[in-house]
Point group: C2
Chain length 267, copies 2
């Protein structure tokens, strides 16, 4: 009938803001999640040059039918200044990846990278509480995963990052969130560990390395990798070969998208 059925004059607009933008997957995935829930809404890519972010952003937020934004590289830390209020995890990490407009016009921000990881485990029926975790990588996604895991009150969190200051900062945050969790730092390993989580870039794309020095895993170990491409990282391939249960980056992404859409449409 000479028209599409997925956008019209009443459509509420959401955007993902990044520089570059072409690689993002949120437009097709978040829009699917919103329309699956019968919201008249689309999420579009918005490429804003990093040097223009501060001047352009406040005006993008003046588009009256724009109700939310997702931020990707390099804006997660800078975007926090546009939130009037912050969710707990965003406040602890000092970064946001989602900004939501409330009905009174105020904007609040939160970070969902870690929430998405926890959601992926919940959907698999794997509890985090009272478990012993090894987390490798405490950068953008890793610090968010670290905080979200701490809220689940594991028995032990062993943390590793190539930057010792980053590790030290995260140890303090975990101690604040979950005083009963034992926190260890040092070279990553899987001995005495229930769940091994990689949030470092080691193993991404054509990188054939493992993020820790290991040749085999006991089959009871659960192994997670935040990397989306490739779907089977060297770490996950080894884990599958050892008979371990694995949780993939794509599951974290789906968990995160679901939680962001919850956030956008919460009253």
């Amino acid at each position: 009938m000479d028209q599409v059925n997925f956008v019209n004059g009443k459509t509420r607009v959401y955007g993902i803001v990044g520089d570059p933008i072409e690689q993002v997957r949120s437009p097709e995935m978040v829009t699917w999640e919103m329309q699956k829930r019968y919201h008249n809404a689309v999420l579009i890519p918005m490429h804003i040059a990093r040097e223009e972010f501060d001047s352009v952003m406040p005006n993008i937020m003046r588009i009256q039918n724009l109700d939310g934004l997702i931020f990707t590289i390099p804006f997660k830390a800078k975007a926090i200044t546009f939130a009037k209020t912050l969710g707990l995890q965003a406040a602890q990490i000092g970064a946001i990846n989602a900004l939501k407009k409330h009905s009174n016009g105020d904007w609040s921000g939160e970070i969902f990278d870690g929430v998405g990881c926890v959601e992926a485990f919940k959907r698999r029926g794997i509890p985090i509480r009272d478990k012993r975790l090894q987390l490798i990588g405490l950068g953008g996604a890793g610090s968010a995963i670290c905080v979200a895991l701490a809220y689940e009150k594991p028995k032990l969190m062993r943390l590793f990052d190539i930057n010792p200051q980053t590790t030290e900062r995260m140890v303090k945050i975990v101690n604040t969130i979950s005083p009963q969790t034992v926190v260890e730092v040092g070279t990553p390993h899987a001995d005495g560990i229930d769940i091994l989580l990689n949030a470092s870039p080691v193993g991404m794309l054509s990188d054939s390395r493992l993020p820790l020095d290991v040749e085999t895993f006991k089959k009871e170990l659960i192994v997670f990798d935040a990397i989306v491409m490739p779907e089977n990282t060297p770490l996950l391939t080894l884990a599958v070969n050892c008979g371990c249960q694995v949780v993939r980056g794509r599951e974290m992404m789906l968990g995160q998208i679901s939680k962001i859409v919850d956030y956008f449409f919460a009253p």
Copy 2:
């Protein structure tokens, strides 16, 4: 597969800017036309409050993957200031309804209301050249229709608007564009006329009036109405009852959309 197929990170974004915005039809119709031509592009509604238009617009134009904008009420006259260069019809009328970004980053503007009307006649195989026209209404759409018709070099253009200054101004413009066209002004009628065009709001929605004082038409008369709602205005109903060929507002809209998409994607 947990994702939609009509938007992704590489999608080029277009917008229609208005206040209010919910009534616009361009998002579904222009997006359809673009995707029918295999462009990875969507056109979304952008509601900008009229008092914020001047400050927000230049920043919207800084979104790197935004390549074009359409303007509706109340921005057609104000939007012209954001065009670095103007098409001929926009320059003559002093308003634009489309703004296009060129590969060097410059923006040009043009108005397509009139072009859409002429395109509708072309698609029906009805020539305007050497015909005798009566045009009623020289407002936003009417002045654009008047200019576009003049470029077709009709034999006679009889013009009417409730504002005599508007009529006088359009007479001068028609004389400039097509010196060989005889221009008449005065109470509208269909005597000695080949094509009668209504671009006034008379007959819109539940308005049961005719835009001219008439009881019947000769069946050779061709009757056009720019009104989209209702599809059959009192004028068109009378024309159909008299056996006249009619051209509808929806055809003008489709013609305009086609021409705007040509413009957006021209090299």
